[in-house]
Amino acid sequence: MEYLNFVVGGAALAAVVLSHWFLAGRLPAMSGRYSTLIDRLRGKKRTDDDFDLSPEELLEAMKELTMEEFGQDAMDAMDAEGAPDASSGGAVAATATLTAPEAPSLGLIYMGGMVAGGFLSALMVGAVTPTMTLNGVRFHELFGSGMTSVIPLVVGGFFVGIGTRMAGGCTTGHGLCGMGALQLGSLVTTMSFFGVGIATALLLGVVL
């Protein structure tokens, strides 16, 4: 299989992040989408079950939290500077969003697009062949082929699932977006999972 130059691949990834930001208004994330999907399957709403507020109730709730956080003096000082436009399109739209039914999940479309894109890419190079070896020579050497190689795949996936939720993100969220945004937490997370991955690969090479 002939791959594109890694620089082209990197540029393509950057294009995905930027286009997602401009089209969806947020950074792309894979593990977070799975969590959202699971929540939806469980019937869990994005907001609190009691979050069914009228605009007046919403304003009172926000004022209460503001008082709790900053105190009356700070609120009075801001009020004295003049009221912003509560009828602005943005404020009205945001209020409507908070009190409206949940919109269809972007996550399903996102994940479906990833699967479709990967499949299309494999079709283009004529590499659509089911395999248990991940097409990696090393994996085959370590774990063989057939059903026995499913076990390390399941175990590995299990730890990936736990790790991404504990870290609040994965290679997309932390490695691609968080690192690009110079977030220290993402740097620590990325170093950790790459470091452990490298160490594990080296250890398996020695032990097995």
């Binding site: 959202t36 609190d48 605009p55 004022k63 609120m75 003049g82 912003p84 509560a86 908070l98 968080g178």
Partner: protein, 68 residues
Amino acid sequence: MSDAKICPHTLSCQMYELFQLQGALNVWKMNYCRGDYGRCARYKMSEVGGSPPVNLMPNGKLLNRQGG
């Protein structure tokens, strides 16, 4: 990045728009959106690709009928 003046997510943040509802709510903008936005719970979640709940306040508390 947190030393910059304005949070880069203001254009897409629903909570930022809600602060337009009353003048007193500008205190959130002063302390988070146009201040030390790096400590905003919504910003932190967005930066790692997460989707902050629409009722998540910058201080990490959730907005609901009881006000928090």
